[in-house]
């Protein structure tokens, strides 16, 4: 990493304790991580280690105890009120809204101009490969298609930061790989900073310019591994020797080798 670049996100010794009094639970003990604007960072770690907690802190949804969380730099000022897009494992689509109206939900909540938002929504429908599906209802879509809609929804208000919490965790293996390629393509086109939480080590390596490895809870940064595979990445890269080496390194760090 170039030390000169002012990071877009800077997490310094972040710590999080849930509960109070005798019922305290240390969920995150010490996370330090810098992320540049436009980077796609994968975060892996065992279940319950505090990955979602880190995302929630970044989203400003929960407080943290110690340390510092800074988002935004001089080139990319960050407005906490509208610069966050979120994608979860469940698509969270509203059953009574069509694809386009689901995508428009954040724009409505923010009170963005209707006409421009609709045009943007149609562009995003095209971007996520759902042309012609704008008036379908969620129940008419497959799981992968629904997750595409929720990715489009996370982009509608043009946020600078996208937080993804195991977005493809509920998909079958084939659809998941397809969605990985999709996400890479969407990321390259949209130039967003993306934090991608996953349990899948090869998914983390395939997507991330870096992989942040958290160890079993309370979350502690075990490593921050730059993945020096060129973009655009392909599924074929998974068979490369280098790819395997990265995966093995992460398995080692997680004590699973």
């Amino acid at each position: 990493m170039d030390a000169q670049i002012e990071p877009f996100i800077s997490l310094q010794n972040v710590k999080k304790i849930y509960g109070s009094g005798t019922n305290q639970h240390l969920a995150v003990s010490d996370v330090t991580l810098d992320i540049n604007a436009g980077e796609l960072i994968s975060i892996v770690g065992p279940s319950g280690c505090g990955k979602s907690t880190v995302l929630m802190i970044l989203a400003g949804l929960i407080s943290h105890e110690d340390g510092q969380v800074l988002i935004g730099n001089t080139d990319n000022p960050f407005d906490a009120n509208r610069d966050i897009g979120m994608v979860f494992q469940q698509d969270l689509l509203l059953k009574w809204r069509t694809v386009i109206d689901n995508i428009l939900l954040p724009a409505e909540l923010l009170g963005l101009p209707v006409k421009e938002s609709r045009e943007r929504a149609l562009d995003l429908i095209n971007l996520v490969g759902l042309d012609g599906y704008e008036d379908k209802y969620p129940k008419q879509l497959s799981g992968g298609q629904r997750q595409r809609v929720s990715i489009a929804r996370s982009l509608i208000h043009d946020p600078k930061l996208i937080l993804m919490d195991e977005p493809f965790g509920a998909l079958d293996a084939l659809t998941r790989e397809k969605m990985n390629l999709e996400l890479l393509r969407i990321w390259e086109k949209s130039q967003k900073t993306i934090l991608f939480v996953t349990h899948g080590i090869s998914e983390a390596v395939l997507l991330g310019s870096r992989v942040a490895v958290l160890t079993a809870g309370p979350a502690r940064m075990a490593a921050n591994i730059p993945i020096e595979l060129p973009y655009p990445r392909t599924l074929e890269m998974k068979t490369h020797e280098e790819f395997g080496k990265y995966c093995r390194e992460i398995y080692d760090l997680l004590g699973m080798a």
Binding site: M56, L61, M86, F88, L94, K95, D123, G129, R185
Partner: protein, 273 residues
């Protein structure tokens, strides 16, 4: 952006979309059930005419329908009274029930404080309250409306209150990152999401409202189809009683149908299961 369709990774998935089922042939779909019902009526006619049963035990369908011509039954007014009681009690229950459910949804505190009370009150056999309500309000259309209300109010509050609370926490997080107001969350997410629950409560209540109004008329009244049944019972005019039951059923079916129609317009047509 036009690249999307040329990317082999995505264009394929379009093909596995579940397509809408072909519109069911109306005749094919309903002719069976209708035939079964007509057969039942035919069987009723057959048994009542050839089974050797006296007509005060089992009047035939034709005898039953014939009672409609008997002016002393005053079908129109009696049916109107019962209809007003049923619809009045039901609509009142929807208004009050939804209002109270909304009140609960505004605060978890209120919900946890009052929900157990409502669940307990729901266990009270409302029909048993009839005589008490009559003592309080004397008998009449208003009292029977109240009895119908009392019996169909609870399913509506309880299901609607549940529905308003059924919101995925992640959806709330998402809304909160966009600084959505409580009102926005309510109107855009919570309330539309609770409609299927409200309608399931309303369907249960539509059936109960009919029972409530009739019980009210049985306990004390001077008009209505329930009252008419008690009057003709004295003369063992079973055919008129049968006809009264049919009329009550008809009113119930109309109410239920109206609810189901509204549900179709507001919920089912809009993609909700």
């Amino acid at each position: 952006m036009s690249q999307a369709s040329t990317n082999p990774g995505i264009s394929q998935e379009g093909s596995d979309v579940p397509t809408a089922p072909p519109p069911q042939n109306f005749v094919k779909k309903y002719s069976g059930p209708i035939a079964v019902q007509i057969a039942c009526i035919a069987l009723w006619q057959l048994i009542s005419t050839t089974g050797g049963l006296p007509s005060y035990i089992l009047p035939s369908p034709i005898e039953t329908l014939a009672t409609l011509a008997d002016g002393s039954n005053d079908w129109f007014n009696n049916t109107m009274v019962t209809t007003v009681e049923i619809f009045g009690g039901f609509i009142l229950a929807v208004i009050v029930g939804v209002a109270i459910a909304l009140f609960f949804s505004w605060s978890t505190r209120l919900f946890t404080l009052f929900m157990p009370l409502l669940v307990a009150l729901n266990m009270v056999p409302k029909v048993a309250l009839g005589p008490i309500i009559i003592v309080w309000f004397s008998y009449g259309i208003f009292t029977n409306t109240l009895i119908a209300f009392a019996i169909c109010f609870f399913p509506i509050v309880i299901t609607t209150a549940r529905g308003l609370r059924e919101i995925e926490p992640e959806l709330l997080y998402l809304s909160r990152t966009l600084k959505a107001s409580k009102w926005q969350i309510f109107t855009k997410i919570q309330f539309p999401g609770s409609l299927p629950y409200l309608f399931s409560g309303m369907k249960v209540s539509a059936v109960l409202a009919v029972a409530g109004a009739i019980v009210g008329e049985f306990i004390g009244s001077e008009r209505g189809l329930g009252y008419l049944m008690l009057q003709v019972q004295i003369n063992l005019d079973t055919a008129t009683m049968f006809m009264a039951v049919l009329m009550i059923t008809l009113v119930g079916v109309i109410l239920y149908g109206a609810v189901a129609f509204l549900e179709f317009i507001l919920v089912k047509r809009g993609g909700q299961a």
